[in-house]
Amino acid sequence: MLLDRERRLLTAYVDGELSSRQRRYVVRLLHRSAEARQLLQQLKADARALRQLPRPSLPIDFTEPVLRTIAERNLSAGQCRIVKAASVTVWIGPLVSWAAAAAVLLALGVASYFYFAASLEQPAQTEIAQQQSGPPPLTPQSQELGPPIIKEDETQTASRERPAPKNDPSAPAEPPKVVQHRRNQPKSSPAEKPSPPKEETVLAERSEMFSLERVPDLLPVVVKVSDLVHPPSRKKLIDELRKDDAFHLELPCLNGSKAFDRVQNAARTLHIGLLIDKQAQERIKLRWRANYGLYIENITPEELTQFVQQIGMEDRKSAAGKKNAETQIDYLVLTRLTAGQRKELATLLGMDPPTASKTTEPLGADPHHPLSDTTARQVGRALAGQGGALRPESGKPEGQPPQPIALVLTYNPIRPSPGSEEIKQFLEGRRPIRTGALRVLLVLRSS
């Protein structure tokens, strides 16, 4: 089997771009390796075939149309400096998009600034007023106001019915204490001395206005694979994986094919089935520095963590036995599956996996099977387990959870052929997603 470095030397040999030292190495290689001789012969034949492609005859004389266009468009020599003609065309589109995106972000930023500036102005003043006034004295007026805590719906009603202080032209001139007090004292006269604001009132209203929502955390989590032997690192990864149900895992490696050996060994140890697409098989066989994508379903966070840990162990095991051998995989980069990645996955598989898996839920219909099958299965279930999970047959141990199966595909730049046999087989054999199980796209990316 030829090393990747040797293949590189052979292709450069065809180009005649080797140093004398490299050429001597290739000559020795050709002397001892029949595979190298065969590959070189084929590469040379390919280059020859390209050279021998017939030259197309010139269909027209470009002189006249070019000069005519110059005259028609009134172009002058050197009127615009286009050294990279294509790159101008290529970058115009993205530039427009970036400019539009920047404009939207700027508008959002400015709008947010004004919104928060206006909203925060009042509570800040209230706090100052509270500090200045100290503990609120218990006045007859405040007693009339009833309990200090205002119910949420009252606050909402109040804020809906009254114009916001920002819109009231007199509001900024008034002390904050008065503003706060007036909210709960609709019929008080301006001459009356206002009672100090109720802190609870402010808080109730503030929490209503600024109820923050947690947005999905899209920042990648980077984990050193070798650290996964330690329980705290494992727990950290498991916790991350529990935050969603679909993830994108990147395993940067030196050579995707070599790294795949480690993945294969780890999968064998953990009884994870691998269904390898034909194109991927060829690349693995040729030991190419290729990229691979593994799509795995029905794997729990714990199982996935164990899988990655095992990959790391296999990697170290392989490196330990060889002289000057390096580990293939150092880090794992974890991100939640974004909409774009879902789309990419759908392109790879020829269908949207999350959508497809939902169709196999008990209440849904699986388009891959006739309805009669579904009905028969439901009846069978009802008879065996009263509509719940199937009971094991008598005398047999309880069934194991479904074994995760990973579909191995070529990844960028070569994409698998849509609808390949392996993809079909994988899609046909899919099962409903277990509760808490994940969908994962694990990418082995050659450096």
Binding site: T11, E17, D46, L50, Q52, F62, L67, I82, A85, A86
Partner: protein
């Protein structure tokens, strides 16, 4: 750069459009040949070549004479072709598969002495063209520049405006990918 090219460029910059006509006539055939291999379609190749000449004309003052005029012109044409292929990739694939344009080209006359040999040659050429057409524009460009145009790594790097290491790496991948595609097509034969 040849003195004649330099003189013609200077005349163009002084407003003599006819001088550019001489440059077009001088380089159009070589340019068309390479562009045709990049876009694999006669009509598209015509459009790209014409566009490249117009772009070159408008940016003539940007040409400093550090390289050959053809290299500079070629850079504009190759970039235009790559950009064109990126935009029309899907369409081009369909055309490649659907019409028999490849077969229409005349065969090499030297191979015409033996009918079955000519047929084999035509089939081989079709396979090579189809395989070439399936490569990415970047990979196709390096193969065309190296094998069809016979350019050196340095010139290719200058034309494509990437480091020599990138050229080496792209060529390596392009050759292996082409080999794989040809093997596949031979198996399907």
């Amino acid at each position: 750069m040849s003195a004649d090219d330099q003189r013609l460029i200077a005349e163009c910059l002084q407003g003599n459009t006819a001088a550019f006509g001489v440059l077009v006539r001088r380089y159009q055939e070589r340019l068309y040949h390479s562009v045709y291999r990049l876009v694999e379609n006669a009509e598209d190749a015509q459009d790209v070549v014409q566009e490249a000449f117009l772009n070159a004309y408008q940016s003539l003052d940007g040409f400093k004479g550090d390289s050959q005029f053809f290299t500079w012109l070629y850079r504009i044409a190759v970039n235009t072709a790559i950009s064109f292929k990126r935009k029309h990739r899907t369409l081009a694939r369909m055309e490649t598969q659907n019409n028999g344009e490849y077969i229409r080209e005349p065969l090499d006359s030297s191979a015409a002495s033996r009918p079955e040999y000519a047929l084999e040659q035509a089939e081989q050429q079709t396979r090579v063209r189809q395989a070439l057409a399936r490569l990415s524009p970047e990979h196709r460009a390096v193969l065309v520049l190296k094998d069809i145009e016979g350019q050196k790594y340095e010139t290719m790097a200058e034309i494509l405006q990437v480091p020599i290491g990138t050229i080496r790496s792209r060529l390596h991948r392009a050759r292996l990918e082409l080999r794989e595609l040809l093997e596949k097509s031979e198996q399907e034969k």
